[in-house]
Structure formats: C-alpha cells, structure tokens
C-alpha cells in the first residue's frame, strides 16, 4: 500500500562513496566526532537521506547513533566531515538557525508553560505574531488530538500525551527534517506499539524526512524505509529492513538483530563459488562469488532462527545444511515457540509456529537435528 522507497545509497554503503545526489535531501559526508577525552564517537559516517524518507539509526547504546543525530541538529559539532541539507552546509550553523528540529528523548517540554505555549514556542522564536501562532499551534494540537488539553501544564499529562505535545511542538515549525531521539523510549510497551504505526503513518502523510534513533530492533524494522546499523562509532550496514533482517552483512549486525544462528567454522571444501563451512556436525553451504577464502580458512555464517526446520526423527542427520543439537529449553511465546539448542558447544535457536508447542513441550535433553536451506545461509564479514 505504501510506496516502497529505494534509497539512493547502495546497500552496505559503509565503505561506498557518498551519493552524488547532493542537490536534494540530507547528506552526511565522512562525518567524524572525537570527544575531548579522545573517545571516538562517530567515525567516517556517510549517508544520504531523501526528503520523505524514514531512516532509522539503530545500534547498542554508546554506538554513536545519538551523537550523529545531535550533529545533524547542531547540538554537537563534528570534528571533521560535512553535513549538507539540499546542498547547503549546516556544519557551522547553531541549532536555532538549522531547518531541522528534534524530538528529544524525554520530551524536554517546558514545565512552566501550558501545552499551547509549548507548541507555540518555536513560532514565537521565529517572530510569528500572537494571534497567528495561537492559530497554528491549535492546528498542530488538532493534528495530535490534544486540543482539549491546550491549557494544561506538561506535568498534568500522561507520558503519551507529553510525547504528542513534543511532536506537535516540532511539527509546527515546519522543519525540513525531523530528528527523533528514542522518541518511543519513555512509553509503555502497548502504547509504543500503537505509536509506531501512528507515527509512521503521520510521516507518510506529511512526506517529511524523519531521522530516528533507537536501540530497539523491532521498532527499527517496523518503522524504517532504511535502517543504518551502527556499532562502535561505525556504520555496519545500511539497508532496507527486510535486508537487515534476512541478510546481515557482518557478524555484529547478525548478533545485534538477534535470533540469528551464528556458525563459526572453517572452509571444509570449495566447489566453484560454493563454500562448505564446517564446525563438527554443523555444516552449511553458501554461494559466495569472489570470496577469497581457501579450504581451511575461518568463516562465519548466519542462519535466521525462523528459517530453521526441525527434523525430530533425525533422518537428515549428517546432511549438508544441518546440525545435530540437544534441546536445552522449549520456550512458549504464544504465537511462536523458541527452541533453545546447543550444537558443538555453541548456542543455536529455532523458531517454529506456536501450534507445534504440544509436540515439543517437555523434550528438553533430547537430541534433535535441525536443517535449513542454502539460500538462508548468509556469509558474514567482520
């Protein structure tokens, strides 16, 4: 139903050249931030974001995603690199002169002002007359459904309502890019799930560029047109959610996204472009054109837990793309069952539909063989 947006930057652009389309949209070029103590927060960050695109910066805390967002907003100054919006450099502009606005993590509302005055604040700063800013602020409150609460103080509102005030407050200034720092982090889970859909919907209706920072994988997958996975100050992978989920490029992405089986082994044989990777009874094949590895070299592959099939009578034992495992724990999660396994001392995971729970419960300690298809095997880089 929604138009699928294919980013201009190539997938896995960590090392690729920045997009040449510098006329329109946001460009971050070789952005680096080193803090005074010598800590490298962001290193060599390259990204192009189109107008109307929803990009999520995803990574564990301390990976540099928030620092990147703050550099776009002007709250941190890059040590080196360039930030362009529609071809115009933002690097030397203070926050109040940038056409970007931020939804801060804990909403950062002004406690001494009413909801209406909070929303009208940006307009006041831009010299809009009182009547006009009141009208526009009311419109913004209408948009987030808070008109009846216009005269309240922020502390009289629930977390979800405060979040909507924060949203109205930034949208009223009509920014060219909206920056969101963990915008759903303070909300209760149920509300978070609802807000994901609604926020994404609103962004589509507005056609506005959103750059959203989160450490929540599910949130990133559900909301983004493109996800930028970061770790340790660097970009690990830039791709659409489906690619991030099914084709992680690095071990870090595979581990961080969770529910991936990581197989660390050695190349047992090579037939043309097909590598057979082995770790004891665990054997996986992957087609990797141009991969320089020879027999005996180390290799790491991943297989999604949801792509794993159970072979309860172990007819496929010893085959290619299978592993002999022991069941450690059967975890029932309603719609699905997670089977926690070990193979060759490594933890493995299988996810199967919840209906299969009756046939699996209580089978901890038993031997089982799991299988998967070659196309579900992903060769990982470092």
């Amino acid at each position: 139903m929604a138009e699928e947006r294919v980013g201009l930057a190539t997938e896995g652009a960590a090392t690729a050249a920045p997009s040449t389309a510098k006329g329109s949209g946001l460009d971050l070029i070789e952005l680096t931030k080193v803090f005074p103590g010598g800590t490298v927060a962001v290193e060599d960050f390259n990204l192009h974001v189109d107008h109307g695109e929803y990009v999520v910066l995803l990574g564990p805390s301390g990976c540099g995603k928030t620092t990147t967002l703050r550099m776009i907003g002007g709250h941190e100054f890059p040590t080196s690199g360039e930030i362009l919006l529609d071809g115009q450099s933002l690097v030397h502009l203070p926050p109040h002169k940038r056409p970007t606005t931020t939804v801060f993590q804990h909403f950062a509302l002004f406690p001494h002002r009413t909801v209406l005055d909070n929303v009208a604040f940006g307009l006041k700063m831009h010299g809009v007359r009182k009547q006009e800013r009141r009208r526009q602020a009311m419109e913004a409150l209408e948009m987030v459904g808070l008109v009846p609460l216009a005269d309240r103080r922020p502390r009289q509102l629930s977390g979800g309502q405060q979040q909507r005030v924060a949203l109205a407050r930034v949208l009223v200034t009509q920014p060219k890019a909206l920056l969101l720092d963990e915008p759903l982090g303070d909300l209760d889970r149920l509300l978070q799930l609802r807000m994901r859909v609604e926020l994404r919907n609103l962004q589509r209706q507005l056609g506005l560029m959103f750059v959203h920072v989160t450490h929540n994988q599910e949130e990133a997958l559900s909301m983004a047109d493109r996800i930028v996975v970061m770790n340790d100050a660097r970009i690990q992978q830039i791709a659409e959610p489906v690619t991030i989920a099914t084709k992680p490029e690095t071990e870090l992405v595979a581990r961080f996204m969770g529910d991936n089986n990581i197989i660390q082994g050695r190349v047992a044989s090579r037939e043309g472009d097909r590598l057979i990777i082995e770790n004891g009874s665990v054997r996986a094949s992957v087609v990797a054109p141009g991969d320089p590895r020879a027999v005996g070299d180390e290799a790491v592959v991943s297989v999604r837990a949801a792509a794993v099939e159970l072979d309860l009578n172990r007819s496929g034992a010893g085959e290619l793309n299978s592993a002999d495992c022991e069941i450690v724990f059967v975890e029932f999660l309603g719609d699905l069952v997670k089977l926690h396994l070990t193979a060759e001392g490594e933890r493995m995971l299988a996810k199967v539909p919840g209906e299969r729970y009756p046939s699996l419960r209580g089978r901890e300690g038993e031997k089982i063989t799991i299988t998967w298809k070659e196309e579900d095997v992903q060769l990982l880089g470092r």
Partner: protein, 331 residues
Amino acid sequence: MSNSSAGDGTPHLDVTEIEQAEELVEQRVPSTEHALGASESAARTGGGWITTVWAAPGFAWLGFYLIAPLVFIVLVSFWTYQVGAKSGFVADWTFSNYSELFRDSTYWNNMLSSFYRSLIAVVACLVFGFPVAYFLALKVNSLRNQIALFVFALAPFWTSYLTRSVAWTYPLMGREGGLNQVLQKIGIVNEPIEALGFSETSVTLAMIQLYVLFMITPLFFTLSQVDRTALEAARDLGGNWWRTFREVILPQTMPGVVIGSIFIFVLTMGEYGTVRVIGGNAISSVGTIVQSRVEIAVQYPQGAASAVLLVLALVLGVFVITRFSNLREDL
C-alpha cells in the same frame, strides 16, 4: 492500516487508537496526575497527628525564640520610658514612643538610606550572583564538580563574619587602605579615593561581598532544577541564547530570584555590624539607631518602637517582592 478517521486529508495522528492503548496502560500505571492527586490526599488525611508531633519541637523553638521576644518588644514599645526605674521603663501604656519616632527625621532618613542601600545590594547580588549560579548549575557538567565548586564558592563563609569584615576594612579598604595604596602606586589616582574610606560605598560593597552567597545558593538550586534538554529544545526551536534565557531559564528560576532577594533585603536592611565596622561612625543605618538607643542610651521603649517599625518595613518589603513575582504559582 491507514484508516483516517477525519477524511479531510490533513495529516494527523489517529488519536482514538492511541487513546485506547493509553487507557489500557493507565489501568496498570496510574498517570502522574492521578499519582499526584493520591499523594496530596494522603498528606491531607493520613498521619496528621504524627506530623504534628514531629513539628512540635520546631514550633516550640520558634515560639520561644521568635514569637515571644517579638511580642515582648511590641509590648515594650507601648510602655513608658522612666529614668531610674528598674530596666529603665514602667508598664504604663503610651503611644508617645511612636509619635516621637514619627517626628524624628533622622530615623526616617536612615530608614530611607538603609532601604536604598538594600536595594543596591539586592540588585548587585543578582547581577554578580546570577552568572556564578548559572555557571555552576548549567555549565559545569558533573555533579561532583558542581558540588566541589559550590563548596569552594562557600569558602568565604568558613571564616567568621567578623574576621571577614575586619579583614576587609583595615588592610583593604579605608583612606590609607591597601586598595587606595595600590591605586596610587600604579598611578591610577593621585589622591586616595575618599569613597573607599568610611563611606556609603564601602559599606554597600562590603554588604554585597558578605551576602552574595545568600543569592547564589537559592539561584544555584533553582537553576539546577532546569532540564538541560529543555534548553536544547528551546535552541532547537529557534531560540538564540538570550531568548532561551529570557523565555525558558528565567521564568523557571524566579523562585530562586525571589528567595535570594528576600534574603539579601532582610539581611542588609537590618544590618548594623557591617555598618559599624566598615562605616566607622561616619555611616548609620536603622540598625545602628536601634542599637544605640538600646545599648548606649538605654532607652528600651524607644528602641523597641524603632525596631518594630523596622520589622514592619521588612514585612512590607517581603510582601512587595513576592507580589512582584507570582512565586506562589511557581512553587
């Protein structure tokens, strides 16, 4: 998925869905509003007598050391001065202490000059104290450094009041004091500056130096309450430094400004020690008048009446300060 309830095509959030989710959440996590309401009513109803018992020693203390002497002073101010009587007065009701005082232009001139001095001290303490408090609360990043620097700023208070006054007076101030000598040595002035001697200026400067911490402290604590991300948000929304200060920081700091101003006003208006030490006999204040009436002339009723009027002036001043700001609403 995009079941836009308002079909006018303007972008909006589907609020009904959000509010349904929020309602479910509320059942488990009461909103701040509910929580506040609950704690308020608990404070109003529950444990009333326990609170009373806890507060009793405090009230007794206040009663014995504040209310009782005050009542006594008011009584004495309406009694009659009599030479030779035990402690110099008899308990005969009279209004003459006040009527004399109302005609006493020296007293009123001193009241006025004390008020004027206090006003300057309040403004000066605000002007000098605010940047210090602002720096401590909003520019120093770790709580540890904040506390360390704050304690350091309090260091002058570790020495006693008198030591500081004296240290200020003789080596530094005065016609032949250090400051004047230095200024003459480096050739800025040829003659000693009289204002640095026993003068109004010296007294005011000394008071500012002695009391500025009573301004810095409340300002520091209110500024510390200001949410720093809210300041970033203000800048983000287009506020430059000054607008952010004016629109976001200052309104939230008003309680500190008011409390600091009350401190400085009350402390300086009733001052007599600093005036005596720094001003010598050249400068007087309402405080020194009360002191000389009581200690030198031993005219308790007259002294009491001048003290009562001073207290009334202080109360009036505090009332005006709180009126000027909407402190009650902010607190």
